[in-house]
Symmetry: C2
Subunit: 476 residues, 2 copies
Amino acid sequence: MADKKVEAITSMDEDFAQWYTDVVVKADLTGYTSVKGFMVLKPAGYAIWELIQSQLDARFKETGVENVYLPMLIPEGLLQKEKDHVEGFAPEVAWVTHGGLNELQEKLCVRPTSETLFCDFYQKDITSYRDLPKVYNQWCSVVRWEKETRPFLRSREFLWQEGHTAHATAEEAEERTIQMLNVYADFCEQVLAIPVVKGQKTEKEKFAGAVATYTIEALMHDGKALQSGTSHNFGDGFAKAFGVQYADKDNQLKYVHQTSWGVTTRLIGAIIMVHGDDNGLKLPPMVAPTQVMIVPIQQKKEGVLDKAEELRERLSKVARVKVDATDKSPGFKFAECEMRGIPLRVEIGPRDIENNQCVLVRRDTGEKISVSLDELEAKVSELLETIQKDMLETARAHRDSHTYEARNWDEFVDTVENRPGFIKAMWCGDTECEENIKAQTGATTRCMPFEQEELSGVCVCCGKPAKKMVYFGRAY
Amino acid sequence: MADKKVEAITSMDEDFAQWYTDVVVKADLTGYTSVKGFMVLKPAGYAIWELIQSQLDARFKETGVENVYLPMLIPEGLLQKEKDHVEGFAPEVAWVTHGGLNELQEKLCVRPTSETLFCDFYQKDITSYRDLPKVYNQWCSVVRWEKETRPFLRSREFLWQEGHTAHATAEEAEERTIQMLNVYADFCEQVLAIPVVKGQKTEKEKFAGAVATYTIEALMHDGKALQSGTSHNFGDGFAKAFGVQYADKDNQLKYVHQTSWGVTTRLIGAIIMVHGDDNGLKLPPMVAPTQVMIVPIQQKKEGVLDKAEELRERLSKVARVKVDATDKSPGFKFAECEMRGIPLRVEIGPRDIENNQCVLVRRDTGEKISVSLDELEAKVSELLETIQKDMLETARAHRDSHTYEARNWDEFVDTVENRPGFIKAMWCGDTECEENIKAQTGATTRCMPFEQEELSGVCVCCGKPAKKMVYFGRAY
């Protein structure tokens, strides 16, 4: 335990759930509120979301997405128009029954997701093939009345983006569904340094009202899976329920084909659980609100604080950088930098100044590097890039070394019990087997990956001929 | 009417309210929804809000503001803690009474504003003088159950930012209140090209629970005033109601002093009504999602579309630029550019290409300028800056020429009836006179401006000695 610098965090090997809660609290990401199941996103937590939002939004816009904003309330009658959808969501929505001093004639639910609102809007806004495609997205919060809540992973209100598109053809809708899944996967890997498995959800696990749901699945440090983003193809089901039609070039009225896709503040939970360690949070540089913290050593000595400020000024051209000039001890400041996940620490003291150098300390590896002040900007830029890449490779190595194959039931059970991680196994395609596996092991189908392999030819549960290789795992 | 290119818009002189609605619809800014009083912000409208948000947020952050996110629902008990506040807001909130399938033990309102939530949060989060100041802000939507609604100006849900700060001293709180009012005023002038009058609201018009409310007031084209942003000093009233205390350096428990300040999507309404004309919207370049539209002339001729695309590529380095390569006629495209308020249009046809030139057309003045293609980027940058400045000066000239002085009651009534605009007049400070003036003329106190003048020495209503010069006006 000599390495453990902040005593307040539970060790992750001892109690991962408690470790997670400790990190969220000690890194000052969220706060509790008087409203059960609702949280405050504090500056350190919200700033990560802002970086996710701005970079993901830029990627959306490169593919032609336009942002809009729709109402936060949905009339009951609108929610009920698509049968599967209302069954999926009605049990977990919050109902507004009074507006001002009057009872409403029709109650309104706080949006749990906005398919019905977009359909209602598209029904009014689309008349001709010239109006297609509509490739709209909104950034907002949604409410789902969950029974058990955990910061970022499951809460009664969360922030997200929801893309909703309408297309002339089924092919175009399917193409957009996959395109956005790929945007999510690339974003997770390149920006969040989280490798993901891409695949399709089973019938049982797909979204209420969708023809097909695609997912990206990430593996957390404890070997549990986290569904990190989904993309749905609705076919023309919603269009038929809501009467969303367009006049095609041949002057025939046709139904549009729709998609939706979303990621949430859950991604912050993924960052914590993929990268964190017993010293706290580890943020990939691309989503670190502070990328470099300069810690002056013996800061009361003449010239030290001035030098620290000079370095901050220089580094501000290449990174998001701060100086910690508080009256805390350097050791305390180091521990705090680590707790908050700041990727790179710069130590600068009187002797360093004399030698025209400083010490850089990587949060991901703990490595210390002496650097001449003449090459500070270049070295910091280079190191931030290296950290970003190395964090992805470390996460990938962990994911790969915790991905197992099970060829029969005994192997499957043994793996679930003793080797937490992804389990690749063959499946016959029957929901019954899926439910059996869940009931007996707690593992669920994460996805049918796009990259299929042939493992054994038969279903790991019933032994009948297999149709698909599936990623299984216990999940958040 | 020869100048009126789009017949679908009502002339503003004929019916300003209808002109406004026509512009909102024809410029495709908003859409109606199935939820009464709620609107859709369509891409053209939401993109303006995104530009407002990103530029205002950058200005906030320069002053040390940090963003957070608090719950959208407020328990009834929390809303009731501050007496004036609950009286001000309880009659117009939406109540959530059921979560999932169960009735809630305590009903929750959808936030109409978040003072109570921030107090509850600060009560938990602030313990010592080291925790101060807190200078937090959130971007979100709020709900107020208004009876009459108009796009952007008044709707049951609107987007806004709400800053909420906590300080150790009364002086610091007052300083922050004024600082943020100045941020708003500068932003309106420099980014939205809207000149504003800064001042304090009267007792009658101040925010529910505030010690002092400051406002920026803008004058619309029809001579009506629009309150465009407010900044409130709460003193320690909320802190006492919610028990928000800190241990000072002297180890004494003291109450914090708080402020809040906000602007909303109403600013888009202001842009429309300050700058627009009978051809539609006029966007200041700094908030124009498309700043330059390239319209190819005789686009079927060889080389025209290629050239247009080449110019787009070149101009994309200095402006937000698009090409309209649809099969509509150039005349139709011109009218559409004007309707949507695009600041600068580039016309490029075969003869222009031959002469190595193009024609630039300003939306604000209609001026046409032939420009050599060799100096295209420089000329476009320069013109966008000129348009931004000229639009402010035009709006300022309109505001100044519609600001009147009234020295006695007859002058006051005559001005309200015959010369729509701001009326500067002296006031004794009594709410009774304020209410009389409103009842008899429909004009309300807009603000007691920071720049006071002495006009007549006596109250324009009762003739008693005056205390303040006030801006009056009919208002949205």
